[in-house]
């Protein structure tokens, strides 16, 4: 059970990948939920503008999603490239 340096580095990369994606998923999850919540509220108040509101909601969520995608990219880099 000799622990070698390369194993420790690899272990850190795996653990880091899990933490990166796990922690990175919190913010976008909550943020996109809030965006959709406000969109539903706005559609409830003004159903005529539903199309415009849904479009704005999706664009806003896509921007909010970006940090989640960064986390995914870093996790995949840690798993397969580094």
């Amino acid at each position: 059970m000799a622990i070698e340096g390369t194993h420790i580095v690899q272990a850190a990369a795996f653990l880091g990948a899990g933490l990166s994606m796990g922690l990175g998923a919190i913010g976008p999850g909550v943020g996109e939920g809030l965006a959709a919540a406000k969109a539903c509220e706005a559609i409830g108040k003004n159903p005529v503008e539903a199309g415009l509101l849904t479009r704005t909601m999706l664009v806003g969520q896509a921007v909010s999603e970006s940090t989640g995608i960064y986390a995914l990219v870093i996790a995949l880099l840690l798993l397969f490239v580094v």
Partner: protein, 324 residues
């Protein structure tokens, strides 16, 4: 050497029991406190129906309490476990079972308190709808308990599955990872479902005629919010029941631990976010009947997008388990 292991198993059981009850007490206490605060507010508005409100408060608090009673059960099981026939893996099992139940009770405890608080406000607003509001409150609180039940199931599986013959490395990491996946994964869904049920109670009290459609959308929203907790349970079951080949390298262990942490933490955000979305959709469906279809569609689209990061976490966990 056997004595040595027994000492460490006892250490793990006592720390695990402490964590189960310590973490497990957080959520129920917050949820019940919220309920009592709302009940007091309601009684101040209309002291004449204080006995109804008092009954509703106690009923809801009893449901919110179940999450911490689960934690108490696991803590008791750990404190009075059988220490005669133990192995090194038992250390990981006891720690993980305690962590899993403790963390898993946080979300459901908070979540179950929210609908009851709103039910008290609603009963003051519409005393005639008392029965309908109470029914919805009970249904909502009970569903908000389900993530804590997932954590309880995982803890019990951990305690009663036979791990003999499995290699210590990397099985210890799979066991701890399973605890994190199911325990942390239950937090977000528990809180999120509570938010949805809260606005269901509010909506029915404001618009009694909307009861049917509000209930339907509330249940739909809660079901979608539940998904991330189910991902957590899924990863936990894979980690527990898949037998991993012995690995000398610490990297294999860390991959499994990382998979559990990834899914557990990654489920928190989408669970809460989807809860926000459905909360708002249910509130506005109760107020405006004509836009029910539009709002349901927007709610589902919004929840699907919020779910995406939870799915990324699921994918990374599965890669860590099966590909690496």
């Amino acid at each position: 050497m056997t004595d040595d292991i027994q000492v460490w198993v006892k250490v793990a059981a006592f720390i695990g029991g402490g964590m189960a009850m310590g973490f497990g007490a957080i959520g129920a206490a917050i949820g019940e406190g919220y309920t009592a605060a709302k009940a007091n507010e309601a009684i101040a508005r209309n002291p004449q129906i204080s006995s109804d409100l008092f009954k509703t408060m106690l009923l809801g608090q009893a449901i919110a309490e179940t999450a911490s009673i689960f934690a108490l059960i696991i803590a008791m099981l750990l404190l009075f476990a059988d220490f005669s026939n133990v192995s090194t893996l038992t250390i990981a099992i006891f720690l993980s079972a305690g962590l899993c139940m403790g963390l898993g009770a946080i979300g459901s405890g908070i979540g179950s308190g929210l609908p009851t608080g709103e039910a008290c406000t609603g009963i003051v607003r519409q005393p005639g709808m008392k029965n309908r509001i109470t029914t919805i409150m009970l249904a909502g609180s009970a569903i908000a308990q389900s993530p804590a039940i997932f954590a309880l199931v995982t803890s019990l599986i951990l305690l009663f599955v036979d791990f003999t013959g499995r290699p210590i490395s990397p099985t210890w990491a799979a066991i701890i990872g399973a605890g994190f996946a199911s325990g942390l994964g239950a937090i977000g869904s528990g809180i999120g479902e509570g938010l949805v049920a809260k606005s269901g109670c509010e909506g029915i009290a404001r618009q009694p005629l909307s009861a049917t459609r509000t209930t339907n959308v509330m249940l739909l929203g809660m079901a979608v919010t539940e998904t991330t907790a189910i991902y957590g349970l899924l990863i936990a079951c894979i980690l527990i029941f898949k037998s991993f080949p012995a690995a000398e390298s610490i990297a294999a262990s860390m991959a499994l631990l990382g998979a559990g942490l990834c899914m557990g933490i990654g489920a928190i955000g989408p669970g809460i976010g989807e809860g926000f979305t459905a909360e708002s959709a249910v509130r506005w469906i109760a107020r405006s009947e004509s836009s029910t279809a539009q709002l349901t569609r927007s709610m589902l689209v919004g929840q699907a997008v919020a779910e995406s990061t939870g799915i990324y976490a699921l994918v990374i966990s599965l890669v860590l388990i099966f590909v690496i």
